[in-house]
Each structure stands twice: as C-alpha cells, then as structure tokens.
C-alpha cells in the first residue's frame, strides 16, 4: 500500500547554517515527487526528515498519517525503502544477502525468497548475480541491487537520494527506464532527490524546486515551464533547455 507524506513548516539548522526554513509539502499516496535544487538547497535534509536520519528543530513531519516521532526510528526506517548515491551495499556480503537485509530485519518468513523476487524485478536474475560480491558488479548493476534492496520488503514508500548521480549516461538511462516501470507496477510513493531537472521530469509526477532551504515552486513540469514562479525557476529551465538545444543543433 502506498503511503502519503507531509511536512508542515519544517525548519532545521546545522550549526549556524539554515538547511530548512519553514518548508511544507504534501505527497499523496502513490505519487512520485522530485526534490530539485543545487547543493545546499536543503533537498537532502528534507528527504532525511522522513526516515528520521534528520530530526528537524521545528515543524511536523508525517509518514502515513502519523507523526514520525511517534514510533522508534529503527521501526520507521524498516518500513521505508532507501537508496543513496553510492548504493551503500555492504561490501563483505553477497548480493542476495544484501537484498535480504530488510526482510530479515522485519522478520519475514522467507527473506531470501523476497530478495530473489526483488532482484528479478530490477533485472538481475538471482541465479547469476545473487552469489556475487558488490565489487564484482558494474556501477549500474550495484545501483540496481541497491534498488532491489530498497523494495525487497515491499515498502509503501521509497526515498531516493541522488540514486543515479554517480552513473554514466547510458547506465543512467537504462536505470531510469526500469525504475519508472518498477514504481508503477509496485504502486509505491517515491520521493527523489536530484540536481538534474531532466531526470526529475523523466521520473516524477510533481517537481519541488528548492533554494537555500525554501521552496521556490512546486507543481507538474508543464506548470514550471509555462509559469515559472520565480526568476530562479525560470533560469533553471532555461539552462536545461539550452543544454537540450545544443544537442539538437
């Protein structure tokens, strides 16, 4: 079952640096939302509030209809898929064991079965890949394994922090494709952090543009193009478009 997300007036500082400055967003169950912005815009901090890797100083964060603080962080995290930029696979565990991590933590009856299924879903047959170590895979394959690990226990929500940022263009394109298929077939709520507007447009239903801890604009890609709310959003789109036109010329 997909889960809805909400943040109300969330603020956070790291020392003297304002990371989030009164941010509010709503993500309906089953939607895919991309948080876009440059480094330091607060997008990753906002993402990490939802699985309590960051405990914001002010405001309210909800997963489902519950405030995240009402359940233990460990319990909360086991119900949320998570993928980070460098995959974060445990290097000394074989692929199958890596993918079975959350099913094991949740005490599922057949964690290895769940892991095999997840591997199939991301296009890595467990017979070929299950017994390899992460360093025996390509970068793209490792991110697929990380993706499989995030969905193996069938969470209602997946958080992705620049999951494809370290990949070459071709692997990235392939992964976009399989991820898009995956999230539709599993009907899971996804929150994606990326600095790449094109990637956001490709994978997300709605886009949230952030700058210096505030939300500049949020809406569908088309709205951002036709009616940019701020100068910054207009610039962002113009730059993405210029890149595209350089290719066409």
């Amino acid at each position: 079952m997909p889960i809805s997300l909400a943040a109300r007036n969330v603020s956070h500082r790291f020392g003297n640096v304002v990371a989030l400055d009164g941010v509010s967003i709503d993500v309906p169950a089953g939607r895919a939302v991309a948080l876009v912005g440059e480094s330091g815009s607060g997008k990753t901090t906002l993402l990490r509030c939802f699985n309590r890797l960051v405990e914001p100083e002010g405001g309210e964060v909800k997963v489902g209809d519950r405030d995240v603080r009402t359940q233990p962080a460990v319990q909360l995290r086991r119900g949320i898929g998570y993928v980070q930029q460098h995959g974060g696979l445990l290097p000394h565990w074989r692929v199958l064991r890596n993918v079975a991590l959350v099913p094991v933590l949740q005490g599922m009856s057949d964690p290895l079965g769940a892991a095999r299924q997840a591997l199939e879903l991301v296009g890595l047959p467990s017979g070929d890949f299950g017994s390899r170590f992460p360093h025996e895979l390509s970068g793209g394959q490792r991110q697929r394994v990380a993706l499989a690990r995030s969905i193996a226990a069938r969470p209602g929500l997946v958080l992705l922090d620049e999951p494809f940022g370290a990949l070459d263009a071709i692997s990235r394109g392939e992964l976009h494709e399989s991820f898009d298929g995956l999230r539709r077939s599993l009907s899971v709520t996804t929150l994606l952090v990326t600095h790449d507007l094109a990637e956001a447009a490709r994978l997300a239903d709605d886009i949230v543009v952030m700058k210096k801890g505030r939300i500049e604009q949020m809406g569908a890609m088309r709205t951002l193009i036709t009616a940019p709310a701020t100068e910054y959003v207009a610039q962002l789109i113009a730059r993405a478009r210029a890149g595209l036109e350089a290719l066409q010329a």
């Binding site: 460990v74 980070q84 460098h86 991590l101 933590l105 390509s138 490792r142």
Partner: protein, 540 residues
C-alpha cells in the same frame, strides 16, 4: 579502567601466590626461598652468585634475580622486600641512595663512611648493611696509554685541563649521578667535548677502538688490566670510598637472622687483588660465573668441595652454534618464559583495549584525548616504567607483565578505534537508513570491515611486546632478556646473541603468524586475494 587495573593486579598477585606455594617445598629452615639479586655488571653478578652459594651451602633455598636495572631498581626492590639481598657499595649508598655528602675528614675514612651509611639506611629505609666484604671498588676514570702520553694525563686535574679536546664514554648511571660526571664537573671542572652514554660492556671496546678517549670503570674491573689502561688519580679526593657489602632487607634480617649470619661469613674475606682476579676470570677469560664463585668459596673454606663441575669456560675454540646447542634447554626455557610474558600481556591488552576502542567510537569527543593518553604511556622509557612498578608489585613477573600490558594498549585501542570509525561509511550509513540498530551495525558491518585494521594493531602490539619483554630482565622477570643483560654485564657477545637472536626470530615468527591471522579475518570479499590488491569497491 582503574577497576580493570585492580582486577589484573589482583589476578597477578593470586597467580604469584599460587606459584610460590607450589615451588616452596618445605626446607629444613624456612619455607620461603631467599631472593638474591645483583645489578647489571660483572662483579655484581659474581658477588650475587657467591651470596647464593653461601646460603645454599647452609641449607637455605635461593632464588637468583641477577641483573636488576640499576641502583634505583635494585634499591627500590630491597626497600620494598621484593628481594632479600644484593651487593652494594657504601659510596653509592651515600651519594645515590641517601643523596648525602660528608665533610672531607669523614669522607676520606672508609670505616666512618660505612658507619654513617649503615646507620642512615637503617633509620630511613630499614635495610641493613652487613659488615663490608673487604675490598673497595671505586670509580676509575681511565684512558689509554697513548692518550695519557699525548695529553700528559696523570690526574683528574690534568683531565680537566684537556677535557675540551676529549670525547667521554660514560655509563648512563655515571652521567646522571652526583658522584659521577655531575660532581666531576663541579669539583674539577671536567667538561668533555662530547659525552656518549655507553653500556658497561662496550665502553672498554669503544675506548680500545678509539671511538672515545676516556671512560668510567671500576677499580676492580678485570678489563682495566687487559687493555693496559691508565687510571687517573683522584687528586682532590672527590670519590667517596666504595666499600662492597651485602645489603640485606629488613624482612630477611628479622625473619631469617641465620641467613644474615651466613652471609657475614664473607665479611672481610675478599681483598681487591682477589676481586680483580675473579673479575678477570669472568669478564676476560669468559669463565662461568657459578664456577668462579664456587672456586673462591672453596679457597676461602666457606663451602666444601663436594661436586666437581666440568670447566664450562667459553673458550674461543668452541663455535657459536656449539655454544647455542649446549645451552639449548636453557634457551627453550627462556623462550617459553618470554612467550608467556608476551602472550599474557597481549591477551590482557586485547581484553581491555578492544572494547575501549569500540566504546570510544561511540563517544568520539573523548576518543582522541583518551588514545593520546595511552600514546603518552608509550613514551615512558621502559626502564622508568619498570622502576615505577617496583613499589606496587615488587620485582619479577608481575610488574613486567603490567608494564608490557600498558605498552600494548595503545596500538590495539588505536587500531580498533580507527578501523571501526573508518569502516566503509557508505555501507554504514545505508545500514542505518534501512533500520539496523547500532549493535547490528557494529556486528554486521563495522567489526567485519574493521577486522584487518584491528588485527594489524594487535600484530604491532605483539611485535613491540616481544622486543620490550627483553627489558623485563632488568627487574628479574626472566625471558630472553636474561642472557642479553647478563652478556652485557659480563662483556660476553655470545651470551648476548643467545638471547638476542631467539628474540629477533620470535619477533619475526609472531609477526608472520599474526599476518596470517590478519588475512584470515579479512572481510569475505577480500579473502582469496593473497597475492594482489583487492579490487576497489567503488567505480567513482
């Protein structure tokens, strides 16, 4: 930390007591063996052996602890009843122990000095000087015939005049003592161009080889005659009399007065000529200390001839390998003792430092200061650390074990902390984000990934400990340092090597063995890559 220290010292005390009980077979006079010790130079070894044989001939059980560090360690040990008797000199007692000086008129009279030192020592430290053995062994500042001729040296006043042109090779003890270089500089104005600290055993060779121009010796040294050296006259009577005497602990004197009485059989029986001869047999001719001691005791009529020992003189004709072979049982026993010291110290260090390193990873604010504090322990010279231990733990196995344990803590704590802290941060953060508990992360991720670093810390500690354990001989803990210390004292290179060589091999073996263990504990993805670097785990 303090609780652990207490626990360990308690365990040591318990094991020591058990050991003592098992070895102390009831003897006709007393259950307790008498601990006879010496300082680390030839004459002290010889006198120690003579004391031991006199006591044995009168039915006492004896434990020999020769070669204790230097004056501070030997005197510290007798003050605290850790040993029962060792040979000491009145001048040393006056200056290095009582830190005292006497009016010139008194200082020139050996009997007056003895009376004063004996009275003060009894009052302040409750130790007893038995009546002197009959000879003096004063400092002898010596130069070669050639240097003496070249610089016109006859007295210490002459030496003061020429000292800016000369290089001195003095023992560390002499350099620091107020009746040594400090006083010579004050009284005579002797300021050598350079002062090199030299071990007693090598200073004669250094002088003969021309590496230094002037050395401190003892007037009864056998080597003074061998190298035909010139002893400079103390024309201002700076050195006090150094009458040799048996220094006896209060405990021995009170609980076993018969033992003290037996030792006085040697009083006034050894003159300077005799001692110079005996020292020469040990230091120059390389005769066995026990045999030389026995011969003299027979001559003196103190012990009877009831056992003819073969002459074990280490003549030049028998090769080094034959020498080692002859001593194989002894070397094996010393190696076993060495391993026992190293093994126990290392296990105790792992038990404390590994959990400490893990705990510090959770409390990183205090991690660096704590580990830095352990690092400071490393900078304390071994001898100093061993000397500190004597009032707490006496001499022998226990203080050596505690000192080695202290030295082993740092590399293990450092390796554990660093290894766990730096374990693949991506893997650790992903495991956290997916809902593992801190304990699960430690056991599943951090420890397996840190294992090789932790193991290499243990390996470093092991090799350091094998080396440092040779110094444990200075406080009578045995091990392979024993022949090294004795060989240095007796100027016997083969004896030094019979300890140093096995110690070096042991260090290599321990390093190699733990290197294998290090590979075995490598995380799964790195195993089987014995001959090449493991593949990198990340493409970026």
């Amino acid at each position: 930390m303090r609780r652990v220290l207490l626990l360990i010292s308690w365990l040591l005390a318990a094991s020591e007591t058990m050991g003592a009980q098992s070895t102390a077979v009831a003897s006709s006079r007393d259950n307790r063996p008498i601990v006879v010790a010496s300082k680390p130079f030839g004459e002290s070894y010889l006198l120690c052996e003579m004391f031991a044989q006199v006591l044995e001939s009168r039915g006492f059980k004896v434990v020999r602890r020769p070669g204790l560090g230097a004056t501070e360690i030997a005197f510290g040990a007798i003050r605290t009843d850790a040993i029962d008797v060792y040979p000491e000199y009145t001048g040393t007692g006056l200056v290095a122990i009582l830190h005292d000086s006497l009016a010139d008129s008194v200082a020139a009279d050996p009997r007056a000095v003895f009376a004063y030192v004996a009275r003060q020592s009894a009052q302040l430290y409750h130790v007893r000087w038995l009546p002197p053995l009959g000879f003096q062994n004063t400092y002898a500042i010596a130069v070669t015939q050639k240097t003496a001729a070249q610089h016109h040296l006859r007295t210490l006043t002459d030496l003061a005049r020429e000292s800016p042109h000369l290089i001195a090779g003095f023992t560390a003890d002499f350099i620091g003592r107020s009746d040594g270089l400090v006083g010579l500089t004050r009284v005579y104005g002797i300021r050598p161009r350079e002062v090199r600290p030299l071990a007693p055993a090598v200073k004669y060779q250094a002088l003969a080889a021309g590496a230094v121009d002037v050395i401190d010796g003892y007037s009864t040294d056998g080597l003074l005659a061998k190298y035909d050296l010139v002893t400079l006259i103390d024309d201002r009577h700076f050195f006090p009399p150094y009458e040799a005497s048996a220094l006896v602990s209060r405990r021995l004197d009170q609980t076993m007065p018969a033992a003290s009485a037996a030792l006085t059989l040697l009083s006034d029986r050894l003159d300077e000529q005799t001692m110079r001869n005996l020292n020469r047999r040990v230091e120059v001719d390389g005769e066995d200390v026990a045999r030389v001691a026995r011969d003299e005791l027979v001559v003196l009529g103190i012990v009877g001839v009831f056992r003819v020992t073969p002459n074990t003189s280490r003549g030049a004709q028998s090769g080094f390998l034959a020498y080692m072979w002859d001593r194989r049982a002894n070397i094996v026993a010393l190696t076993a003792r060495h391993l026992e010291l190293v093994g126990l110290a290392l296990i105790a260090a792992v038990i404390v430092a590994l959990p400490l390193g893990l705990a510090l990873e959770r409390t990183r604010r205090i991690a660096e200061p704590t580990i830095g504090g352990l690092g400071v322990l490393q900078t304390i010279p071994s001898i100093a650390l061993l000397a500190f231990m004597i009032p707490l733990l006496g001499v022998g196995f226990a203080p050596a074990l505690v000192a080695l344990w202290l030295y082993a803590l740092y590399p293990i704590a450092r390796g554990t902390y660093t290894g766990v802290r730096d374990a693949d941060p991506d893997a650790v953060s992903a495991a956290e984000a997916l809902g593992t508990t801190p304990t699960q992360r430690l056991i599943w991720v951090r420890l397996p990934l840190a294992a090789p670093v932790i193991m290499s810390g243990i390996r470093t500690a092991a090799v350091i400990t094998v080396g440092a354990a040779t110094l444990a001989a200075f406080i009578g803990a045995g091990g392979l340092g024993e022949p090294i210390v004795a060989g240095l004292a007796l100027a016997d290179t083969r004896m030094i090597l019979s300890g140093a060589l096995p110690a070096a091999l042991l260090a290599l073996a321990v390093d190699g063995l733990l290197g294998l263990v290090e590979r075995m504990v490598a995380p799964a993805h790195r195993r089987g890559t014995f001959w090449r670097r493991p593949a990198t785990t990340r493409s970026s």
